[in-house]
Amino acid sequence: MTLNTAMPLLVIATSLVTGLAIFFLAEDRHRTRSALNLVGALAKLALVAAMLWGVAQGDQYEARFALLPGIDLVLRADALAMLFVTLSALLWLFTTIYAIGYLEDSPNRSRFFGFFSLCVTSTMGIAFAGNLFTFFLFYELLTLSTYPLVAHRGTDKALRAGNVYLMYTLGGGAVLLVGVVWLYSLLGNVEFMHGGVLSAVPPQAHGQLATIFALLIAGLGVKAALVPLHGWLPVAMAAPAPVSALLHAVAVVKAGAFGIVRVVYDVYGIEFASDLGLLAPLALVASITIVYGSLRALMQDDLKRRLAFSTVSQVSYIVLGVSLFGPLGTIGGLAHLVHQGIMKITLFFCAGNYAETLGIHRVSEMDGAGRRMPLTTAAFTVAAFGMIGVPPTAGFVTKWYLGLGALDAGMPWVLGVLVLSGVLNAAYFLPIVYRAWFKPAPRRWPAEVARGHLETDGRLLWPAVITAAMTLAVGLLAATAFSPLDWAKLIMEREYVR
């Protein structure tokens, strides 16, 4: 086995092995568990960095195992995979640090961190999947490894959230499976390839391909929270904050969106999908999701629910970018895969900090929180402006390219959707910022807990501050090498220029 074959496996192993080891750790082995988690996360990050460099130079990383006759398990690191892998590996590190601080002294931590690692393992598998079958395998693994995290607290609400999550995602998985099998019956094993593999299918089967496309998108759309398949996401906010971060930024929602990217670019091929007329409906669904999610977010008083609906809206920017035929839309959508992750994880970290430190769960309780927790609120503010799309944040870069892509693709109405969404984002984020900074603080916080000499526990504070700084950095340095935008351009070139 050469190093190039081993690399994807090693990346997966760094979380798989630590995850399995953690299951067998006694509950009170706090230090060992934290050390395992962090070593795993750092090792993964180092491996990913090396691979990122390699892929940029044009190296090939592929591991292939025959699983069934005619069906291989393929792990391949192409530029698109690396976009998702890098995001997840990086955010996983911060989420782990955050989770260690967040779950201090709570029960069942070994179980939690075990599944936590498995969840990231599945995500890595999804990213590296080189064919539809492998993708599906890890996609279902992700569902199963996330359920215990959603239901982790064991309260009625948490269990209900877990059930809803399971019903939605297993249902989505079943629909996805139908699509995958149908495609297999037409073409045999479907490998992911730049430019797609279906354009050779004879025209009489094009009707079938359109139906399969609908099935695949519906199956993936559950995790990507496309309206009307988004119902599980706001309910799942009953989970602990680090799990929300995982759901919204690192793994689950992203896996759905990433799957859609793969299907459009590497199964159907963007040109072929456009020829079949599949992109316009997808753009419409994404647009409806964007506006509907924002409108619903506007009506929520619960902070995490507001953020959840915001995710519904924001993740569809990725889908929207994918559905815009042309390089600029592709760049915008792919860059947003990373941008949304960084911004949304910041917001959930901050929401968790407010809840854990001051007992704030509602927007209406946010008055004066900025005075008490300035760094957290500064981080929240940066991410909120990012969501609105104000320069120089990451969100601006996304909007810019999506807008240009919309004009390029001959869908100028999408520009209207983007502008409307920006206004709605401002309408539900700015009041929070306004309350936190400019309203007088209450005499007593709902449930204040002293955590160290900083405004809150450093393990909760610094991840939020760092990801907020990244929100600014990826926007300010968008034109620099290895920025998400730059990487998205690389993927675009490999997709369009063949």
Partner: protein, 550 residues
């Protein structure tokens, strides 16, 4: 790239960021006026621009002649504003926070003057807009929160319109500001772009209908903040128009729209301003009126290639003049508040100078600006009518300034121990700029022929005469609520949100409610606000008729 040019936005921004750190805050306040030194140097000395490829989407900064005409007054006013603010807020425990927002807004304002690409222009413009929100909210009074809500709502809508406009312009593939007007002119979405720019920047310049945030914001913001809002930041919107609008191309419809909106605002500002009592609110309506006249100039630039140069000259001269005059008025108004009768007489005498300048009295910067505007107006097809309108507007402005001086005179004394000398010196410097600064800077000789002097003098004299007559015989005044048409709009919104039910945490856009005994007044106000709305509609219809009539 020239280091002074780079420091123009960076120095205030760095100081603003430092001001977030508590231990060094007092130093930031002390050093604030020096933060604008690079901008002053850049505005006065020749400088070389340059590109920063790795920043944002790839940026470019340099100073051209238009940028210089905006950078110079802005840099001076921010410096004076900082000096004034140090003295004005000497006893304010939250002055560190004020300076943080102040410096950040300044960084944006000065930065847009040197930005030469769309992305960095948008970035700096947004920085200015959202930082100024903190200035509006600074006092934490209910009025400040209401003003802040209205301000930020309009700001967000403006930013959204600008994003759409910028994307449509950038679809040409050129991100430079130099290419923006041409790209807008040949774009298939040209009219949409112009409309979006009109509204997006119009939120800043106070285009009629979008002007409602100005009176509230100026009244709520502490005096030095209001001064830079009214004198410097409002001009950034104008700069945006000059940078992006396809001026110099012949677009008669848009010429008509801009001129109509401008003339309407010029008179509307006067009428509603006369119905105000709070001096800063009067100044805000004066800004609406004056920016209306500048908008007329912008409209003239749409009249064709020949009109472009004179219109551009008129607009920049007018902007320069208005910046210094408005700054001096705001500083002086604040100064008058802390002086007793005797000293106030001197302040009032000083205030008469920028007031006369705004009215366009001879030998002031206003006379120059009015002349430049009249030279531009000749290119518009209805030149005679417009020229007459400008003269009428001068009479109106005179009346409005008299009303302002009267209200300043009558305003109650706020007895505070503020360092009068430190407050007076930036004001005096602003006065000097009003008097000679503009003429010297532009090297334009005053037209001292008898006819020109007479033409400039008689509207002012007539205005003063009318004012004296009103004071002597009528003594009547009518009142409109600040924000005029906003009040009925807020009522509709409040009713809508009541229908929708509770749970939305947006700061309620609602007029401050009054106690039972004052109910009568409120009812009167309400009827007046209805009248205000009608007036607005009528004026609009009238002006449209005026413009489109053959």
């Amino acid at each position: 790239m020239n280091v002074w040019l780079a420091l123009t936005p960076l120095a205030p921004l760095a100081l603003a960021l430092l001001a977030t750190w508590h231990p060094v805050r007092p130093w930031c306040v002390r050093l604030a006026p020096l933060a604008f030194l690079p901008a002053l140097v850049t505005a006065l000395l020749p400088s070389s621009g340059g590109a920063i490829e790795w920043l944002l989407l790839g940026t470019h900064f340099s100073l051209d002649s238009v940028g210089r005409a905006f950078l110079l007054p802005s840099a001076v006013l921010w410096t004076l504003g900082a000096l004034f603010a140090r003295a004005w807020l000497a006893r304010d425990p939250a002055r560190g926070r004020f300076f943080g927002f102040f410096l950040a807004a300044a960084a944006g304002n000065l930065g847009v003057c040197v930005a030469q690409d769309i992305a960095s222009f948008y970035l700096l413009f947004a920085l200015m807009t959202f930082s100024a929100w903190g200035l509006v909210l600074h006092r934490h009074t209910p009025a400040a929160h209401r003003a802040g809500g209205v301000y930020v709502t309009l700001a967000v809508l403006g930013e959204a319109a600008l994003l759409a406009a910028f994307v449509l312009i950038a679809a040409s593939g050129d991100l430079s500001l130099a290419g923006a007007p041409a790209a807008a002119a040949i774009s298939p979405a040209r009219d949409l772009i112009v409309a979006l720019l009109l509204t997006g920047f119009g939120v800043k310049t106070g285009v009629l209908g979008l002007h409602v945030a100005l009176p509230l914001a100026y009244a709520a913001t502490p005096a030095p903040g209001a001064a830079v809002l009214a004198a410097a930041m409002i001009k950034a919107g104008l700069l945006g128009w000059l940078r992006f609008l396809p001026l110099g191309h012949s677009l008669p419809e848009w010429s008509a729209v801009f001129i109509a909106l401008g003339i309407a605002a010029a008179f509307y500002g006067v009428v509603v301003g006369l119905a105000q009592r709070e001096p800063k609110t009067i100044l805000a309506y004066s800004s609406v009126s004056q920016m209306g006249l500048i908008t007329v100039g912008v409209g003239c630039a749409f009249a064709g290639p020949a009109a472009y140069a004179p219109a551009l000259l008129a607009v920049t001269v007018y902007a320069l003049h208005h910046a210094f005059a408005k700054g001096a008025l705001f500083f002086g108004e604040a100064l008058a508040r802390v002086t007793r009768r005797r000293a106030r007489r001197w302040v009032l005498a000083g205030l008469a100078l920028p007031a006369a300048a705004l009215a366009g009295a001879p030998f002031t910067s206003g006379a120059l600006a009015k002349q430049a505007l009249k030279d531009a107006v000749v290119f518009a097809p209805w030149a005679g009518l417009l020229s007459l309108s400008l003269t009428l507007a001068a009479i109106g402005t005179t009346l409005l300034m008299l009303r302002f001086l009267w209200c300043v005179w009558r305003a109650p004394v706020t007895v505070t121990r503020r360092p009068l000398a430190a407050l007076a010196s930036p004001w005096l410097v602003a006065l000097v700029f009003v008097l000679v600064g503009v003429g010297a800077a532009l090297r334009l000789p005053f037209d001292v022929s008898a006819s020109a002097l007479l033409a400039a003098a008689w509207p002012v004299a007539l205005g003063v005469a009318i004012g004296a007559l009103v004071l002597r015989y009528l003594r009547a005044s009518f009142a409109l609520p600040p924000g005029d048409v906003l009040v009925p709009i807020e009522r509709v919104l409040a009713a809508a949100s009541a229908l929708r039910g509770p749970g939305v945490a947006w700061p309620r856009l609602r007029a401050p409610s009054f106690g039972g005994a004052v109910g009568e007044i409120e009812r009167a106000l309400r009827s007046w606000s209805v009248v205000g709305a009608l007036l607005f509609l009528l004026l609009g219809a009238f002006t449209l008729l005026l413009v489109f009539a053959p």
